[in-house]
């Protein structure tokens, strides 16, 4: 029974499925915004909202009581707050990679997922930013982080990577937002022209800034868009490099290593692609029309990028172990022995299994092409990357030099509620985004459709012969 039609899998699958034309592309993607959401949207949004309230409650309690409610203390001053910061900001990096670097590399498969992952970037950086801001202990004085003239006549210390972080992360957030909005302008114009209601017309019209698709405008637009991509590329590499320098410039065993910047950047992209898959699979179920644009081809490519960056990260793990022994320094050697056999060895070996072992399944097409397995692996990588940050940050700190200064660290209930709260906040923001903004760049999809099928079909919506009927393919694949 299964042998009747075998849908093309992996990179054999087309980038756009089904019979499409400019109108159907606009209607399917834009329609999500302009029509009422599917029933399931409400409970899922409500769940995200409820979890966000847990986060808000935690923050209020933190402001009342101070960071003593967290588990951090001497000698482990960097706990969940910094772990979660690094974890979230790493997740954001895949969005910029997809939207900027893959644009410069002319990868056509980026078009279906760039808007979606840019949104993911922005929300992930929002989650990330909360942690260090609250970790300062007195968040109402956070403006001291910026070089503003003040009554103390004091200035920030620009020779510290912690301050570089302030600039790197705030620039990253701002530029990601600009890039995202630039991409949205023509799509808001499409929605403005399709909206039936006055309010929708007014909002979309305002956000589109009166875009009318003039050829002269497109010329400058493309130039600006390409330049923004070119600017975002070194930016994204700098952000996680600077984050890693927070550790690498210190003298803590396990932190003081030169491999950190590339190792962190690879880990960031690894975590980010895992999160894109984690989001894309359920969103394709909630909005079945997305299956025409986020096809097996895209899933396969993302799985391959995840595998490749995972191997770089795994190389980093091996190097950490190697140079600890090779250093002939007793503190460095003890650091890795402590990771292997110390009180936190469980997290270390769980990390090796999550990030080193299980993702190797992606070498095999049967796992890459099976969404159930792919989703499972992406979840395992999400957990693995969090464990990696835990091992690097807290496990390195808990036993550094003199045994009299050793200690133990565990997150309290408030650490956990803050962490889980940000996950729900992230989910809530993604659902709001799906509801109110086009999840796929509509004008870029039209352009891609034109490039792929130009000349092979008329303009009347006849897809070329080799594109299978989406209804057949998608129903088989999900059965």
């Amino acid at each position: 029974m299964q042998e009747t039609i075998k849908p093309p899998m992996g990179t054999d699958a087309p980038l756009i499925e089904g019979k499409q034309n400019y109108e159907t592309i606009t209607e399917k993607i834009g329609g999500i915004v302009l029509k009422s959401p599917p029933k399931i949207w409400y409970p899922l949004f409500a769940l995200g909202f409820a979890g966000t309230m847990v986060m808000v409650f935690t923050i209020c309690w933190l402001l009342l009581r101070g960071i003593g409610i967290w588990g951090v203390n001497q000698p482990v001053g960097w706990g969940f707050d910094i772990i979660n910061f690094v974890w979230w900001i790493g997740i954001g990096h895949a969005g910029t990679l997809i939207s900027a670097i893959l644009l410069l590399l002319r990868q056509q498969w980026r078009t279906s997922i760039n808007r979606f992952s840019e949104a993911m970037t922005i929300f992930a950086v929002m989650c990330a930013g909360m942690f260090p801001l609250l970790h300062t202990g007195r968040p109402w004085l956070d403006y001291w982080l910026f070089p503003l003239p003040n009554w103390l006549a004091m200035w920030p210390q620009f020779r510290s990577p912690l301050l570089w972080d302030v600039f790197a992360v705030s620039t990253y957030f701002t530029v990601s937002l600009l890039f995202w909005y630039t991409g949205l302008i023509p799509d808001f114009a499409s929605l403005r022209d399709r909206a039936k209601g006055k309010i929708a017309q007014l909002i979309c019209g305002t956000l589109s800034l009166g875009w009318r698709g003039s050829a002269k405008h497109w010329m400058r637009y493309e130039s600006a868009y390409l330049l923004l991509a070119g600017l975002s590329t070194p930016l994204v590499l700098s952000v996680h490099s600077v984050v890693s320098l927070d550790f690498a410039t210190s003298i803590v065993p396990g932190w003081h290593v030169t491999v950190f910047p590339p190792y962190f950047v690879a880990g960031a992209i690894y975590a980010g692609f895992a999160m894109v898959i984690t989001l894309a699979v359920p969103f394709r179920m909630i909005y079945p029309q997305l299956k025409d644009y986020i096809t097996n081809h895209h899933m396969d490519m993302m799985a391959k990028v995840m595998l490749a960056t995972g191997l770089i990260v795994f190389y980093g793990y091996m190097m950490e172990a190697f140079y600890s022994f090779y250093s002939a320094n007793q503190f460095e050697t003890y650091m890795i022995e402590n990771r292997f056999w110390g009180p936190y060895s469980g997290t270390y070996w769980a990390l090796m299994i999550c990030n080193g072992l299980i993702p190797q399944l992606l070498w095999f097409p049967r796992f890459r092409h099976n969404l159930f397995w792919l989703y499972g692996v992406s979840m395992v990588v999400n957990v693995g990357m969090w464990l990696e940050r835990f091992v690097i940050i807290s496990v390195s700190l808990h036993r550094e030099y003199k045994p009299s200064g050793w200690g133990f660290y565990a997150g309290t209930q408030w650490d956990w509620s803050m962490f889980i709260g940000t996950i729900f906040f992230f989910v809530m923001m993604m659902f709001l985004f799906a509801r109110f903004m086009p999840m796929i760049a509509i004008f870029e999809m039209r352009d891609l459709w034109h490039r792929l099928y130009h000349g092979k079909s008329g303009h009347n919506g006849h897809a070329p012969a080799h594109v299978p009927n989406s209804a057949e393919v998608t129903s088989k694949e999900d059965a």
Binding site: V175, D193, L231, F443
Partner: protein
């Protein structure tokens, strides 16, 4: 009637096409017919269309370069003023003017200024935001953001006269030709 009277009540005349190839061809013909003030409208960027129209401009890249340059200078100047001059601080015995330490922040400020220059120069040169424009008065133009391609010869063109431009556009085999009124 080489220099026909400019018609104040019209923005121009607009022709509607069905494919990007047609509008590209129409743009080439319009240009060779001697029209200078015309514009095309499409739901996505068409490569080569600005060349076909004979429009060339590279102001956005220059704006980005200048923005980035100002960013680099001001990022560096800020740090030198703050950490070397106004409040010098001994950090691990480093020089007051330890400029290599100022590069990361100067780099971030460069990117920030350049990115703002990219978006703002693009919008500024395009004359956006502009909520209304005469082309929106043409009912067919509602599809310009979905699946139709337009070419509009503008009344400012010295060669423009309503009848002549309409006849010319009709010869390009469009779906429709409509005058674009100013209000």
């Amino acid at each position: 009637m080489a220099h026909g009277p400019i018609e104040p009540q019209y923005h121009g005349v607009m022709a509607e096409f069905e494919t990007p190839e047609q509008v590209m061809e129409a743009a080439e013909k319009t240009r060779s017919a001697g029209y200078k003030q015309f514009d095309c409208y499409s739901p996505f960027p068409i490569h080569g269309l600005s060349d076909a129209m004979g429009v060339e401009e590279a102001k956005v890249p220059w704006a980005v370069f200048i923005g980035g340059f100002i960013g680099a200078l001001s990022g560096m100047a800020l740090q030198i003023y703050v950490n070397s001059y106004d409040y010098p601080m001994n950090v691990g015995g480093r020089d007051d003017l330890s400029w290599p330490y100022f590069i990361p922040v100067a780099f971030e400020v460069t990117i920030l200024f350049a990115a703002f220059s990219a978006l703002l120069s693009m919008l500024g040169l395009n004359g956006l935001p502009r909520p209304h424009h005469p082309v929106f008065n043409v009912p067919e133009f509602a599809r310009a953001s979905t699946d139709r391609f337009f070419l509009c010869i503008e009344a400012q063109d010295p060669k423009f006269d309503l009848q002549g431009a309409s006849d010319f556009l009709k010869s390009l085999n469009p779906l429709s030709v409509s005058p674009v009124s100013n209000d």
